[in-house]
Symmetry: C3
Subunit: 268 residues, 3 copies
């Protein structure tokens, strides 16, 4: 495990040293949390969605994070322009299809954005990954009806179709690309009782993608430290209000020793 | 008191067992808090406002919560379509007229929405309930200038006019419908120093309405656990930053014994 | 120092006694935090941005806070109408040019708003103040590339050009107007690891401007208590999740004795 924790730590140190600017077009529910998580890990977050300026902002950013949680026409227009520009500039794009499968609009926007500019990484829960791959039409809002294992085939299909990394988050997180699969067993069930933990994972993948061009590694490292910080937080107090606070503290306090002690990462 | 606390606990257990999907069209200030409160009590929250998809989303949801706090044309369009659909599908609608009385726009939108689709429950502070009933034109933004007692006649008038449950929140919460009145004396003054506690109450009423079709009971139960969780939080630390965190922890940790010990509910 | 801490305390007591209504048109990231900070200091916050109602809302408010963090066309339309009305009614306007210099849109909107209705106070970090004064085109999103000292000339130029108070926040905060300069050395580096601390400072300046028409004093007092509350919070736990919570508690718990003990304010 030591080689993996060392590689994760190298990325964390790069983020802290470079403080990469992460451009987020994300939902209203989590903007504060994801900005704070990006600051806690050492990145420099910005939330910018206006069509009038997203192209300029992508140009000065190191990664683009697009999350459709509370999408509407204005935000979709911003996402469209930002993703096209990021693709043109060859900057990493991380895409979070929150609630895809729940409505026709969400499905259409997701397909349009994927077609326009393939992301470097797609992260969702099992229901979302299955819906995005066209393998499931059952959803329950933004929560998953399935364990993450159920979506592995869907993830592999999506990865192959769009030539990108796909992350299924859940009790175990699966990171899939071509014939590579990583499984992160870190995390705590209480994380599902705090809104926006998935969206935070997506944003943190953005930070790692800004310093590691192997996006499979970047996504694996991000999911590892998300899970470890979640465990540390839940051990301090097993209640959701406290978890949200202690999670940010844990992200900020991360050390290489803690990662080495805790990491539960396997490659299949 | 035991029969009441038992009835409340039955609803809490239903929420935890069913995790009903609560569709919120609410304001930017409180989206994170109300989503977390809904998760803490055991419901499954989603924030969805785009006119392109609200009708689809209402269809898969168990209750609709509409809050006009930071309304604008896009959100009003979403509220209109969502409420009409919820009415058509006979799903509970909980309406929070934040700041009504402060501007002509807020008054007009509130009347339009009420006329379009009568809510199952309306919750506001005394100023808002009086303004909505046409009995008061004095307001101070989103805070009440009056104690909750002052609005009982207004609540009764509104309840009779729209044939719905009306909740006035304050030091005492009044829940009114026809000749039924419940009074919840739980709560703590510090709750007025945390933004969005009223909006959170509205969202929690949504969760109870999803599992109890007697909306008078649902609203009464929701206000009771709001007040109890607020007391528990304020006893841990009497300061507003901590209250916000400890309130979510208390909601999550609620037990039947705590409710029985604490409940201050009377029926008049 | 005692005379200064007394003057600060007088303003705090006025805010607590009057609970002035502060009208905020601000960004999605910080709405919850700035509302809670305004409540913690004793003011009555409201977030209202719709063009249909901002003029009515300015009319009943004691100060207007405009922050361009997540601006878009709808919000800019609201800002324009609100600032014009506030100017007409001679109410204090506090302006926060978040991220100005990062995009042409942000620059244009800032210049348009300044030309339309000069604020009473402008607050930004060094990069923003330099960009607004036309002295810098280098930015990194919303973070400053410079220490606050680097922007003193820019602040003086802006103050003279627009005849207003200019605040540069940083390790030292500079408050500038004509030949007056105040320097606040309070604060803690961890405050830069919590999103929206600058935006919160801007909102708190709004509260002080509502009770003290000497806006140079109002801004100086606001920056002093921001720094002191930040220190108190960081001493409880040096991690960003806790800081956000403890900061609100510290604002709420402020006493004249604490301000007198802690204040590091000089006039140059």
């Amino acid at each position: 495990m030591h080689q993996f924790s060392q590689a994760i730590w190298t990325d964390v140190e790069r983020i802290r040293a470079q403080a990469p600017l992460i451009h987020n077009i994300t939902n209203f529910v989590v903007m504060n949390n994801t900005a704070n998580a990006l600051l806690a890990i050492g990145a420099s977050p910005a939330m910018v969605h206006a069509p009038e300026e997203v192209e300029d902002f992508v140009t000065i950013s190191s990664a683009l994070v697009v999350n459709i949680g509370t999408l509407d026409a204005t935000f979709v227009a911003g996402m469209t322009l930002a993703m096209r520009r990021a693709k043109h500039l060859n900057k990493p794009i991380v895409f979070d299809p929150v609630g895809v499968g729940a409505t026709a609009y969400r499905n259409q926007v997701s397909q349009d954005l994927l077609t326009l500019a393939t992301p470097s990484v797609i992260r969702g829960n099992a229901s979302e990954i299955m819906a995005l791959a066209g393998l499931n039409t059952q959803t329950k809002g933004v929560d998953s009806l399935f364990g993450s294992e159920a979506a592995i085939d869907a993830a592999r299909r999506l990865s192959s179709l769009w030539n990108c990394v796909v992350v299924i988050s859940g009790a175990n997180d699966y990171i899939v690309q071509d014939d590579r699969t990583a499984i992160v067993a870190n995390g705590h069930p209480l994380m599902t009782k705090v809104t926006g933990m998935g969206c935070t994972a997506t944003a943190i993948i953005g930070a790692f993608s800004a310093v590691n061009t192997d996006y499979f590694q970047a996504a694996t490292h991000a999911m590892s430290i998300m899970g470890i910080a979640g465990e540390l937080a839940a051990e301090k107090r097993t209640a959701p209000g406290s978890l949200q606070v202690n999670f940010l503290d844990a992200l900020y306090d991360l050390s290489e020793a803690t990662i080495t002690d805790r990491l539960q990462l396997t490659h299949a």
